[in-house]
């Protein structure tokens, strides 16, 4: 028997909104520790890794490890039926082929439940090695979304260059070029709004705008986003989900022209 009750169904909805553009379907692996999801997008350029700790749930019970394959578009439909203040309880029997979502409105005057069919998905888990990143940049998630959105009007890829002075996002396309530079903030009063750079070595890497844009769908989850960069390693874009876990995106770099 699996049962997990989350105080805010809206949080789960945000998680879904953050991954459903990249993934058509995914397996949720449930264990004592919590719910995990790891999946690549269709073209295997990016990887989504979600971790929701069992501690973050109001109630969490998982008698046996279980994998629930779900179509994310269908799951989104289910969560579209929830109110913004609802709690959600996710329930499944050990060997069931369905999962139930129960939404309770705050004053319990309304309870709705939806049962959804599970899918059997071929799972390909990737082993992710520990990496010493050259640069770790923490910045406001809204700022990051804005930069990516602005620059993707001009080109298909964004170069992220990081030195100890700051981080530079640049692009070029048919109509011209665009550059956004962010300097490290000196004012640490407002941690939410600061840019913090932890640099071992300067790096400069190129990534696809399309994917970066998809990642910024996670912006509502967290005020801050962390970008971890290193040569010859995928970029990691990480959003912390307060009190619940994290959502990480891995993005393989573009093939540089001189590589061809």
């Amino acid at each position: 028997m699996f049962e997990a009750r989350l105080a805010s169904s809206a949080t789960f909805k945000k998680v879904l909104d953050a991954i459903k553009d990249l993934l058509n379907e995914a397996s949720f692996d449930c264990s004592d520790a919590g719910i995990q999801l790891q999946a690549m997008d269709n073209s295997h350029v990016s990887l989504v890794s979600l971790n929701l700790k069992s501690d973050g749930f109001e109630k969490y019970r998982c008698d046996r490890n279980l994998t629930m394959g779900m179509n994310l578009a269908s799951l989104s439909k289910v969560f579209r039926c929830s109110g913004s203040d609802d709690t959600v309880t996710i329930k499944a029997q050990d060997d069931a082929d369905t999962v139930t979502f129960m939404f309770e409105a705050k004053k319990q005057e309304k309870i709705s439940d939806y049962e959804m069919k599970l899918m059997n998905l071929d799972q390909e888990h990737l082993g992710i090695p520990e990496t010493e990143f050259s640069c770790i940049i923490k910045l406001p998630s809204g700022e990051f979304a804005r930069i990516v959105r602005d620059l993707s009007q001009f080109g298909e890829s964004i170069v992220i260059s990081c030195t100890k002075e700051g981080v530079k996002f640049s692009t070029q396309g048919d109509i011209g070029t665009g550059n956004v530079k962010l300097a490290q903030t000196n004012n640490f009063d407002k941690e939410d709004q600061s840019v913090i750079i932890d640099m071992q070595e300067p790096v400069s890497l190129t990534f696809s705008c399309e994917y970066l844009n998809s990642f910024t769908k996670a912006t509502p989850l967290s005020n801050q986003v962390t970008l971890s960069l290193c040569d010859n390693v995928p970029l990691v874009v990480e959003y912390q989900i307060p009190d619940l876990g994290h959502l990480k995106y891995y993005l393989a770099p573009k093939i540089e022209e001189d590589e061809n």
Binding site: L126, I128, Y250, A252
Partner: protein, 186 residues
């Protein structure tokens, strides 16, 4: 994504950096499906390993294990002609006129209809030679679908040791049969 093809040609893949770690854990369904596949395969390739037919006093031919069979594993198919009940009745009629013909008809229900596997014809297959025992059988019958047709297979009811005779319950206890084949009672 609209630039998918473009991205494919101009982007590295995450699998270039991270290695695929195929999960060795399987879901229950997956395991059942694989087991079913395995059985189908055994039937299709007419697997008869670890079996030997020997002549025994009193019962005629019988089949003996030449290897150990684990409980629940596939032993052999009861192969013969898959026929309808009507056809079976006609054949039974014909066979009953010749006392020398043995009892090789196995009736079973599938989708609420009775069918019969008729293995009367000497075929060289082992399944038809296995003797009956009501009280000390070590095999049970199971029906599986292979290419849409039900096939009858015999599975090990317990761990079977090398040298043991293989036996299963023919299930037929009609008065008519008992008259012709009184050994069905034992």
């Amino acid at each position: 994504m609209k630039t998918l093809n473009n991205v494919r040609n101009s982007n590295h893949k995450v699998t270039d950096y991270f290695t695929v770690r195929k999960s060795v854990r399987k879901t229950k369904k997956q395991m059942l499906r694989e087991k079913q596949k395995q059985l189908e395969y055994m039937v299709i390739c007419e697997m008869e390993d670890g079996l030997e037919s020997r002549y025994t006093e009193g019962k005629g031919r019988g089949v003996f294990a030449t290897k150990d069979f684990e409980k629940g594993s596939f032993v052999v198919e009861y192969s013969g002609d898959f026929i309808s009940l009507m056809e079976a009745n006609e054949r039974e009629d014909q066979y009953s006129r010749d006392e020398a013909t043995g009892c090789y008809m196995y009736y079973f229900k599938y989708n609420d209809q009775t069918f019969c596997i008729d293995a009367t014809r000497e075929s060289g297959r082992m399944g038809r030679l296995i003797n009956h025992s009501r009280t000390s059988s070590n095999l049970y019958t199971k029906i599986i679908l292979v290419d849409g047709l039900p096939r009858l297979i015999l599975m090990a009811k317990e761990n079977i040791k090398r040298g043991q005779e293989l036996l299963y319950d023919y299930g037929d206890r009609s008065r008519e049969s008992l008259k012709h084949h009184p050994w069905l009672k034992s």
